[in-house]
Subunit: 152 residues, 4 copies
């Protein structure tokens, strides 16, 4: 059975407007591909990408740090409360075939590192610089194009 | 924001035909409620309940022990590979608001116990006997009726 | 390299005096064997067994649900905070070669079930009744004798 | 009750001789402080630091990715098999009050990031460069001196 691609979107829980727009555009592209969007389920980049994706009819999974599914942002279709705190970052990586990092802080860096450690491709837009292994791109559409060549 | 009910279906990875039919009927009832079905994603009771649910257009989440989403049964809509082995049982419980145990072995017993430990209601059909705290019922429809009074 | 036996002691976080005495006696026996005692690190049976063991110079590991090592009872030699809540029960089982259940509630039942699911022997004293697979014994010394035949 | 300091040592599972010597020296310093050394339990930097520490009578904990305690290097006093794979990195961080990164690859980077995300101090020797938040030092003794001012 052929499964749909799972694409992780990782990035900070708060972000500025330009990053929010960029992440929304990324979410819209993901919906167009028919892929499932995996993320940490909270605000900022996670919220924006879920919003773009779900507004286009896509499916979004939010793997939450806490125990309450109500903590998910409103554009998460499937909230998965884990109670693992930052430990859930491991699950975001494991549930994804490929990841796109958009901006982001230490949590995002931990996900980038876990993904690269376990051989999952990581695409970066305006994120942690000079990490060997990240495929840096300039735009959501370039991110999707790159992802498609890697796992499509 | 009001979230849909998450109902966990727990039970053994292999089962006889009668149990399979029963779990399929349970899955169909879950789809009728518009609830999300959470399970361990593999065969037996997990497969049967997913099958019943997805054949009626419902959504099913399979929280898998391994790292490959292809291990999910074909009726899992959203496979979540975790790489945690039996440790994923904790996540099945945490992702659910209420759980229904159908038959089952030690893995199911661990989920029953974790759910009761953390105050989540557990409904049982033809499962581990004489566990204080399980609400024992006789049929899928009675299970759903009971679940509805608990979390609906 | 031959490693020392790891024996898990599982049981409720609060207990009556008779159970406390019994668990202390079990801890003393474990110290005499030179084995490492693994437990959940909190009160009741966990505390009593750690106390008996450490008072005889034994080593005790407390795998804690929270993030603070100060939550461990005073007789834990090595506290391991996990932040996993009840999810740490999985780790208590995985860190042990054999487990002894003393009395106990749902948390203990989850550990019994996880151990039996993964093929680890479980010895029971005055604990959950009629669970197929538990080797029921009457005393700490009988528990140790049984453990020795299984993993010694 | 005052607990001993837990110091995490993180670094790659294979390393050159100079790094091995450096990590051994770090382990010896940790033993001198009477602190508990926490690590991932395998080779390279983990092995060298455990070796230095245990040869001076210190206690070393190896939080292992697999299910077998025999996978620990011979200088691990307390092996803790977890079966979580790279997910055990989260536990190495949570079990530590302060961490020292020595050289290292993506796994080490994930631990650095998780530690900084959760507010734990990270001291770095010859490791990932230019990560804001790491306190970079030049030698094991400087690392210990820095750790002492942070958590001693």
């Amino acid at each position: 059975m052929k499964r749909r691609v799972h694409i992780g979107v990782i990035g900070a829980g708060t972000c500025n407007e330009a990053t929010y727009e960029l992440a929304m555009a990324l979410g819209r592209e993901i919906a167009s591909c028919g892929w499932i969007l995996i993320c940490g389920g909270l605000g900022g980049v996670m919220e924006a990408s879920c919003r773009g994706c779900s507004e286009r009819g896509g499916t979004t999974v939010g793997i939450l740090p806490g125990l309450e599914k109500e903590a998910a942002n409103p554009w998460v279709t499937i909230p998965i409360p884990t109670g693992l705190g930052e430990g859930r970052n491991v699950l975001v990586v494991r549930a994804s075939d490929v990841l796109v990092a958009v901006s982001g802080g230490y949590g995002t860096l931990s996900e980038i590192a876990l993904a690269l450690k376990t051989g999952k491709p990581v695409i970066g837009i305006d994120t942690w610089k000079d990490i060997e292994g990240i495929k840096y791109v300039q735009s959501p559409s370039e991110a999707i194009e790159t992802a498609r060549t890697l796992v499509g």
